[in-house]
Subunit: 329 residues, 3 copies
């Protein structure tokens, strides 16, 4: 059996919720879900890509969400929906509802007397600093730290061991995963005789609504002005966003990306895994950068950009590398 | 003097424990250890590679673990062993024994009443959620967080500020270093009008026995099915393993590696530092990928693979890069 | 208005502190600061680069720190200084003074009875282990962990959720940002039949004075000898420094850099973002490595080095990559 659901539903109730046509017994209970690859009898699963049609025919005893063109896939239970992937995501929200937020402060939390936290859940070992405001319906998990003067909107989740430095502002419905650090000092130093002089980082971080920030991601505070993350931006794990970057609305940033100081990324961009962006560049709206590329100059036309040395058997690589080196002699 | 040992031994006792031939006074006490490079009189050190023979002759007053072919290296104390490096590692385990686990819960810990923790050590500021089970001989260090329904085997170490999300399962003898985050949501979103819709990540993470997970490494939970880490896998620091990856037994992953979603890595592979693996690829057993390479296609033959742009003086690089760009005109 | 200062000063007082010539009313109060780009009336700002002269003329109602050659930039308030950027940094230190350290231990901290912490501030949920020594004027923030036998100098800041493993030593005036992990085990394993054998990591980490360590950066303890970070080294976020590395004084390491085991980096080097350094290499003093490069061989001459595959539109990239692959047929 696949993943057991937290809140079983009948297929009839699900069809209603999804506004889907139902083929089969409406009283059948959905007890488990699965990907198409791993599906077994009775699991709820879906497919929309024609190339998976053959695989879907093999799991005819599942409860399948399919498009109209695939309604003949089986004699079993089917929900007909124009966007099966989206419908499945909606089903997951119903079958695995989020923990309900229970407003209150755990006995082992540390909350400053001047913090404003009405309607939020503050778990054990959470730390909330002076004058920090947390919106209703938000949850601060065990070991999360919100320092002084932080503003967090409604219905946010700040996970364990995330750290939010003083003065950082986040909008509503933001999710900050464990180990993320928002608002640490930017890397600002001046060369002086015998080394480096630290430049105080007095800017802030301003984050919009509906932003998700992955585990162990870091977003530095601005040097003077703010670092700005737009609405709907989605940031994966282990990403580094340096001081004074601006990330446009609805841009998605995959894991291990690094964005150097004062770079400006447009709206609706997609940065693949491990992309690095040099500082003080700008990337316009609607740019896709392939994973592993280094963006070393500004991009002012939408489209896909790539800069990756092709992987080869090691022996071949040695020849290519030698040839490149020779090419400049 | 080198590193002072925590638990001094006589060379006689060590020779017995290693099953090594001893040349020299068995009652001499080992008080310190060192690498060959930094060795001074009386330190325990070793060498096995012939090219270090000359260096070893310079440290004749050390206690040396050597192979039989090097028994004439000095007139000092020598332990003759067929694998000096391995013997030295065994010696370290005796000279620096691990802290003994003292079962019990610190007064400042937060442990849910339904957790099962018999025989484990739970330190101050550790957090253990509902129904979580921790095996005997395991230690949960200060500020580690194990959320609800976690399963952790026997003789594990979860270090400070590591976070384990709900439902994650780990086997026996696992080590999770500080700041590691296991089971955060995978990066799963659907494009919708005006941005992205979060897809609930309801899969888990299943980790085998004898796995070591480095500091600040992240391993995401599966979208529907599980993310799976095999037995004996060794993962260095700052590694990102995305949702639904499968890592085969005894594979070693060096620092800063990123593995995108649903990638399948075989058994006994070695990924060098900063390797990036594109999602939905598969790498067969016994593949070695050179540090810094991006794996952009599946690999189905064992062997070493590389894709790195060769480093050169900056002026030369500008010529090579210009030549590459011109090559497509 | 720009960033509101924490501690307003008159321009007269600032001119005195900076030893700058003042043009304008000395009693004007500085209430806000800004970058040149974002400056509005009354903000303190600066410029020194001639190419920003036109922009500076647009913000004539600001309080401007300028060089003597630009004294005619406006009729407004000007402070004349030979190094405006440096003067501005000095001004920031006066206008945004650091929180004063208030020696004492918060009620919710956990400090071992044998720790030596006179003159330090230990916040709620800070953890300080046995025999650990913390210098006067240092602050250990909420959720920071200093394990047993750590030595921390005077006037240091260890931020929230940073973890310092047993036996690590740091000098004076060090800053450790949130989520940094210092002293976790190096990635040391020996190949054995059926996998890998862990090699105890018994070395330490020794860190000099005036070192700054970024958020979520990791520095591993040595295998036998120590990992060594020199005086004045500045390390950005998400950096990985493996066991037994040596980093020379005043070297600056940008975000996402990885340095493999036993690499030796000289003094006054600058490693750009995401640079990777292969293990057991050495880089001499005064080397600059461009961001994104992989250092795969030792560098023994000062200068700038680069190894980056140039980014192009994706279609062009496919041609270049195909051409490289063909070049070895």
């Amino acid at each position: 059996m696949g993943r057991i659901v937290a809140h079983p539903l009948t297929v009839g109730a699900l069809a209603n919720a999804l506004n889907a046509e139902l083929l089969g017994d409406p009283d059948t209970l959905i007890r488990s879900v699965s990907s198409l690859d791993a599906a077994s009898d009775g699991d709820l699963t879906f497919f929309s890509d024609r190339k998976h049609r053959a695989a879907a025919e093999q799991v005819a005893a599942c409860i399948l969400i399919v498009r109209d063109v695939d309604r003949d896939i089986s004699n079993g239970i089917r929900l007909i929906h124009p966007a099966p992937h989206l419908a499945f995501a909606q089903a997951l929200d119903l079958l695995f509802p989020l923990d309900r937020v229970i407003a209150g402060v755990a006995a082992q939390a540390a909350v400053d007397a001047t913090a404003q936290i009405a309607g939020a859940q503050i778990d054990a070992f959470a730390f909330v600093g002076a004058r920090t405001r947390i919106g209703a319906g938000s949850r601060i998990h065990a070991h999360a730290t919100l320092h002084n003067d932080v503003e967090l909107g409604d219905n946010c989740n700040v996970h364990s061991s995330a750290v939010i430095y003083p003065g950082v502002r986040l909008g509503h419905r933001c999710i900050v995963h464990s180990g993320a650090v928002i608002g640490a000092d930017g890397f600002g130093f001046q060369p002086v005789k015998n080394g480096w002089r630290k430049v105080a980082q007095v800017g802030g971080v301003v984050i919009g609504d509906d932003v998700e920030i992955g585990a162990n991601t870091t977003i530095d505070r601005g040097a003077i002005d703010d670092t700005v993350i737009g609405d709907g931006v989605k940031i994966d794990n282990q990403v580094q966003i340096a001081h004074n970057c601006h990330i446009g609305d609805h841009t998605a940033i995959a894991g291990c990306v690094g964005i150097a100081g004062s770079a400006r990324i447009g709206k609706r961009c997609m940065l693949g895994g491990a992309v690095m962006v040099v500082g003080h560049l700008s990337i316009c709206d609607d740019v896709v950068v392939s994973g592993g590329s280094l963006v070393s100059r500004s991009i002012d036309k939408p489209g896909q950009y790539t800069g990756i040395f092709p992987i080869t058997p090691h022996r071949d690589w040695m020849q290519i590398a030698a040839k490149l080196r020779r090419s400049i002699r």
